[in-house]
């Protein structure tokens, strides 16, 4: 496996298989013998298979993204919905949102939230995946139970965590009290703890996803490699370092990039726990974009904020593609 290619059969977007998004075909050359020759008909058929996917992408992904990009440059208010008038304002919306006091805080919170959540989810997820990699009685049952946080609607988990983290009567503070911790920390009400608490809840939600995919990746590493490594004296940490980790790398890339894209836009869990408070301590770019558009009805500014998020996600998508290409080339 020195060629650095992913292990065969990785379920999640094996890097050497083009995914539908990069499947935009080279413009078909007019086939020799015209469209109605057997070869031409085959080409038409191929195109026919492509049309639904391309139409779907354009309609449900292309249109909203383009529309959102345009909205960022328009004065788009409630009035626009009735009159259809949305005057161009150039970069005004961007200037307004970026120069506002809350932007710096929101950007920092977004970075901390994303990095913190992903680090926690990944490390704990990998630990659990490795743990379940050795089979033991009931491991299947336990593994399915682990999926529970993923299956619970976010509305429910948000409400439950809000109750657990309540300062006066929450389960966590009651527990800490029983352990002898005297002052009740204000998990969701102190500006220094709220972001940590929200990250903690998001880690809890993200563990099943990380575990499941990493576990899948581990399953694809052939057992005989470990046996060979053991003959050479590599067991335990050294086996992980020299066998598991290099072979798991493609899956790790996928998990991390998907993680960033999922985490950076998290809205519901933050709104449910703190609504961006206290005093913007948990306000992120995503929650601020939501607030501007749907609470203050400044759709132009909301779209500008949203576009900032899209650009950040795009950067990560490019990094991901490059990492993949290098892995393939190596």
């Amino acid at each position: 496996m020195a060629d650095g290619r992913g292990p065969a059969g990785v379920v999640v977007a094996a890097p050497d298989r083009p995914t539908s998004t990069d499947a935009t075909p080279a413009p078909p050359r007019r086939p020799a013998g015209g469209w109605w020759s057997p070869r031409g008909r085959e080409r038409l058929l191929q195109l026919g298979f492509l049309v639904p996917a391309v139409a779907y992408l354009l309609l449900f992904f292309g249109y909203p993204v383009v529309q959102n990009a345009l909205m960022g440059f328009q004065e788009y208010t409630t009035r626009t919905f009735y009159t259809g008038e949305a005057p161009w304002v150039g970069l005004d919306n961007y200037v307004t949102v970026i120069s506002s006091n809350v932007f710096g805080t929101a950007m920092l919170n977004t970075v901390l939230f994303t990095v913190g959540s992903i680090a926690g989810q990944f490390v704990i997820g990998l630990g659990i995946a490795l743990f379940f990699h050795r089979r033991f009685p009931l491991s299947g049952v336990l593994r399915s139970l682990l999926l529970l946080p993923w299956l619970i609607p976010l509305i429910v988990s948000g409400a439950v965590w809000r109750w657990i983290l309540d300062q006066d009567n929450g389960a966590l503070n009651r527990f800490l009290g029983a352990l002898g911790v005297a002052d009740d920390p204000g998990w969701l009400t102190s500006t220094s703890l709220a972001l940590i608490a929200v990250i903690g809840v998001n880690i809890w939600i993200g563990i099943p996803f990380n575990t499941t995919i990493l576990y899948g990746g581990l399953q694809d590493i052939p057992q005989d490699l470990y046996e060979a490594a053991a003959l050479d004296g590599a067991t335990g940490w050294r086996a992980f370092r020299h066998v598991t980790w290099p072979l798991l790398r493609p899956v790790v890339n996928v998990v991390l990039v998907l993680g960033v894209v999922y985490t950076i836009k998290v809205l519901d869990i933050i709104l449910g726990l703190t609504n961006g408070g206290p005093a913007n301590a948990t306000q992120t770019i995503a929650t601020q974009a939501y607030h501007l558009s749907f609470k203050e009805f400044r759709f132009g500014e909301g779209a500008a904020m949203g576009n900032v998020l899209i650009i950040i996600s795009l950067v990560f998508a490019l990094l991901y593609l490059r990492a993949n290409r290098r892995a393939l080339a190596g």
């Binding site: 309609l59 976010l154 009567n169 005093a279 749907f294």
Partner: protein, 410 residues
């Protein structure tokens, strides 16, 4: 009612709806009638989709439909999704014949041009409480009639106060003393909502306004004094630090189970409080800075409007229907059933005689103000500043005046 509940997750469909805008030409059927002919039905849109409001309004709406000779096609959507729905309907020209709006949203929607002035159809808001009328007015024209209104007051647990020998506080100083004396063990003296949402701003308004504060510039000593009161209540331990994350519904729960001896809240909590066995409570106006000051509280409630549907015959019918919801009898009937206050000032005495428990709120409403009275469609921005400053000061991020200055500068 102030924006109800923790709206956020239910608001997600709104996001989707707005994103899909332009793709979907949705909206209900256009009803019977049609251009110019006999109007046989009206489409009504409101957000009373929960009991008890749902069926109380439902009955009244059907009754008025019968009275003006039309069948009613009523749609009640969840509160937080109403505006998204209205905007979608405005852009696809499928607005209903009769539209109910939360009063602070009226100017926002009227500014789009989607609503017709009610004077076009012979209606007027003369004789209505001034603040209520202002909330329904945009650029000098009245765009809606609001049959009932509400506000917030100070609820107190009669048994706890009696036991401690404390009378309900009337001034800020009395409030601080009473709250401190009533704080015991697990119980806080007072509870209020200082959440990062419009609800939090709405709860702060009676303190801010009564002291002479003004939303056009919140960085004033008057507003800072009001904020200092809240900060003091929290710092002295008379109110929980959790107020920064409590919605009004959470505040009600705390009061209901006896974790707070007093609370700031509104009359829409009566049904929930009445469910609690052995809870004995009363309401007084929010305490004022100095004895003798008049409390200025914010007005709640919904206003009924006539959208520009382009069909004068249907709009005229809609006006008749709205007039019916606003007859003296119906204002009193709705106010009694929903524990709110009729908006026509002439009905004041008759109402408090018929429904004595609403006396305190009827008094509060007389001097109350509309949130959008000064800033109109800019109110949401001001409200965001108010709650941000509130939270900064309560969590100790800055002194009240400084926090207000920061927020005012955006």
């Amino acid at each position: 009612m102030a924006r109800r509940g923790a709206s956020l997750r239910t608001a997600l469909p709104a996001l989707v709806a707005a994103a899909a805008l332009g793709l979907s030409a949705c909206g209900g059927g256009s009803g019977g009638g049609g251009g110019g002919g006999d109007v046989t039905s009206l489409r009504v849109l409101d957000y009373y989709n929960n009991e008890p409001g749902k069926s109380t309004w439902g009955r009244k709406i059907d009754e008025c439909g019968q009275q003006v000779g039309v069948t009613i096609e009523r749609e009640a959507v969840p509160g937080p999704t109403l505006i998204a729905k209205v905007l979608q309907q405005a852009s696809s020209r499928t607005l209903p014949d009769v539209l109910m709006l939360d009063n602070p949203d009226l100017q926002q929607i009227a500014a789009t041009g989607a609503l017709a002035p009610i004077s076009d159809f012979g209606l007027s808001a003369d004789g209505y409480q001034e603040g209520v009328k202002n909330a329904s007015t945009f650029e000098g024209q009245v765009y809606g009639l609001q049959p009932i209104t509400n506000s917030i007051g100070l609820f107190y647990n009669v048994d706890i106060l009696n036991q401690a020998g404390i009378t309900p506080p009337k001034t800020w100083d009395e409030l601080k003393t009473a709250a401190a004396a009533l704080t015991q063990g697990e119980r806080y003296g007072v509870a209020f909502s200082a959440i990062a949402d419009y609800e939090g701003a709405w709860q702060f308004l009676p303190f801010m306004w009564t002291n002479g504060g003004d939303e056009t510039n919140i960085a004033s000593p008057e507003t800072a004094e009001a904020l200092q009161l809240w900060v003091d209540l929290v710092n002295s331990g008379s109110a929980s630090r959790s107020v920064v994350n409590w919605s009004q519904a959470d505040v009600m729960e705390q009061f209901k189970v006896g974790n707070a001896a007093m609370m700031v809240n509104g009359p829409w909590q009566f049904p929930a409080l009445d469910e609690a066995q052995g809870l004995n409570y009363e309401v007084v106006p929010i305490p004022v800075p100095q004895a003798g000051d008049t409390v200025v509280a914010p007005l709640g409630g919904e206003t009924w409007t006539i959208p520009q549907t382009g069909d004068p015959a249907r709009q005229a019918k809609a006006a008749e229907f709205i007039a019916c919801l606003n007859t003296d009898e119906n204002q009193i009937a709705l106010a009694s059933a929903l524990t709110t206050v009729p908006t026509k000032t002439a009905l004041r005495e008759r109402f408090t005689t018929e429904v004595p428990r609403m006396a305190a709120f009827t008094e509060i409403v007389q001097t109350a103000r509309a949130r959008t009275g000064k800033l109109g469609a800019e109110w949401p921005t001001a409200a965001t500043r108010i709650y941000t400053a509130m939270q900064t000061a309560i969590t100790g991020g800055a002194a009240p005046l400084q926090a207000l200055q920061q927020a005012q500068n955006g």
